[in-house]
């Protein structure tokens, strides 16, 4: 009798256990699938990020190479490789036509301390603009297809850009 009782108990327990294991297994699988899907997307994103970093490095190297190899010889009409060049001429051809200027920065200069209480802007509203008519500049921008949003090969790469200034004056 006692043995029968034990067997009955065990059978009941094992039946119960089997049911619980099934539910647990299903839930475990679901959890596993969700976690693995998340991990997979993260690994995929990391891989893409690494590839983008490699491409950025390669692009930067190629950009710097073109820039330093050709230097100032690169003109607007003779861009080397995938580098687009735009010239900005600062020639002094009139008071308002200066290319670049240095304008007093009121955010970082303590105007009251620097100029005293009588500080005012000039009639054009510009605060102390120093014109730089003899300073020219050239803007170099990489137009490699992987960094060009209009290209079909665009891979969301940060396009290297550089602006180089130069001084011109004819005596």
């Amino acid at each position: 009798m006692r043995i029968l009782g034990i067997l009955k108990n065990r059978t009941k327990k094992s039946l119960n256990n089997r049911g619980m294991t099934m539910v647990e297994t299903i839930v475990s699988f679901l959890v596993l699938i969700i976690v693995l899907a998340g991990l997979y997307s993260m690994v995929k994103f990391s891989s893409q990020l690494s590839m983008r970093a490699v491409d950025t490095g390669r692009l930067l190297q190629s950009f710097s190479g073109t820039l330093y190899k050709n230097g100032d010889k690169i003109g607007t009409d003779q861009a080397g490789g995938y580098v687009n060049v735009t010239a900005y001429n600062g020639a002094n051809d009139g008071s308002s036509m200066t290319g670049f200027m240095l304008v007093l920065d009121k955010n970082t200069t303590d105007v009251a301390n620097n100029f005293g209480s009588g500080y005012t802007s000039d009639s054009s509203g510009i605060d102390t603009a120093i014109r730089l008519p003899n300073v020219d500049a050239k803007g170099y921008v990489s137009v490699d297809p992987i960094a060009d949003p209009s290209s079909s090969s665009y891979e969301n790469i940060l396009a290297p850009k550089v602006m180089k200034f130069s001084y011109h004056f004819s005596y």
């Binding site: 976690v35 930067l60 036509m97 500080y119 000039d122 730089l132 003899n134 803007g139 550089v162 130069s166």
Partner: protein, 274 residues
């Protein structure tokens, strides 16, 4: 007794069962943990690599602009060493410095104080440092050609120029003194720092110049005096609008012959970048 033995057996069985379940769960959790840690590490490494490359791009952008602008400003200030010494050939930056620093007039305030780290509040950074933003004239770049873009390609997010000056040091650690004579102005130091920022990258180039004073004479002196007296009205707006450029109100037309005869030459003595 036998009932007791049964209960003990049952509890032993159940203990065993529970213990096994826990162990399996722990193994699963550990494996999951390892996978998650591995994935996050991978992502961290990839992100660091990517951020580092972007940093290189921003760094190149800032350094090239700062270095070349600093060299261009050097030419703006030191061209006088090579050119004929007529005011119309002096750059606006040269004029700004020439008619602003070393200025004084009793009873007037607002002149550009020199920088002296030990000189108290009146000569601290807030009083002595002037910051300028580099701006471009989009109207000029667009004029006459449709190929000019509305924005300037390659210019970093922010390009600032900080200018300050210091009298020459007479005695070590002694407070600096405002130079009032030509002899005292000899050796005045000028600092021009170009600061470029792009993204999280900052690059600055600080250039130090030292002043040597001389005398204009002969035809050059006559030419300067003629220019200052006859053409002052045409150059005044560019270098002294109201009281902002020459805060103490020095009028170029009223410059004494001695002042117009004093020749200033800047020489670059050092250039540091960081």
């Amino acid at each position: 007794m036998s009932l007791l033995i049964d209960r003990i057996k049952k509890s032993k069985n159940s203990l065993k069962r529970y213990a096994n379940k826990g162990a399996t769960m722990m193994v699963a959790v550990v494996i999951m943990g390892i996978l998650i840690v591995f994935t996050f590490s991978l992502m961290l490494v990839a992100y660091s690599f990517y951020a580092s490359q972007n940093k290189n791009v921003a760094s190149l952008r800032c350094s090239e602009t700062a270095i070349t602008l600093s060299q261009a400003l050097e030419s703006e200030l030191t061209f006088d060493n090579k050119a004929e010494h007529y005011p119309e050939k002096e750059s606006y930056l040269y004029k700004y410095i020439r008619y602003n620093i070393c200025q004084y007039e009793d009873g007037k305030t607002g002149y550009w104080p020199y920088y002296d780290p030990n000189g108290g509040d009146a000569h601290d950074e807030a009083h002595a440092f002037r910051y300028f933003d580099l701006r471009y004239n989009s109207a000029k770049f667009k004029e006459g050609s449709d190929t000019y873009p509305e924005t300037v390609d390659g210019l970093p997010g922010s390009t600032k120029v900080c200018i300050y000056w210091m009298p020459k040091e007479t005695t070590a650690n002694a407070p600096l003194v405002l130079p009032k004579t030509k002899a005292e102005r000899e050796g005045v130091r000028l600092f021009v720092e170009v600061i470029c920022e792009s993204g999280s990258q900052t690059y600055s180039v600080k250039t130090e110049y030292v002043l040597s004073t001389g005398t204009y004479s002969g035809a050059i002196y006559e030419g300067r005096l003629h220019y200052i007296k006859d053409l002052a009205s045409s150059i005044k707006p560019s270098i002294q609008p109201v009281n902002t450029i020459t805060p103490v109100g020095i009028d170029m037309e009223a410059l004494s012959p001695d002042e117009s005869a004093e020749r200033w030459e800047w020489t670059m003595v050092s250039r540091d970048s960081e």
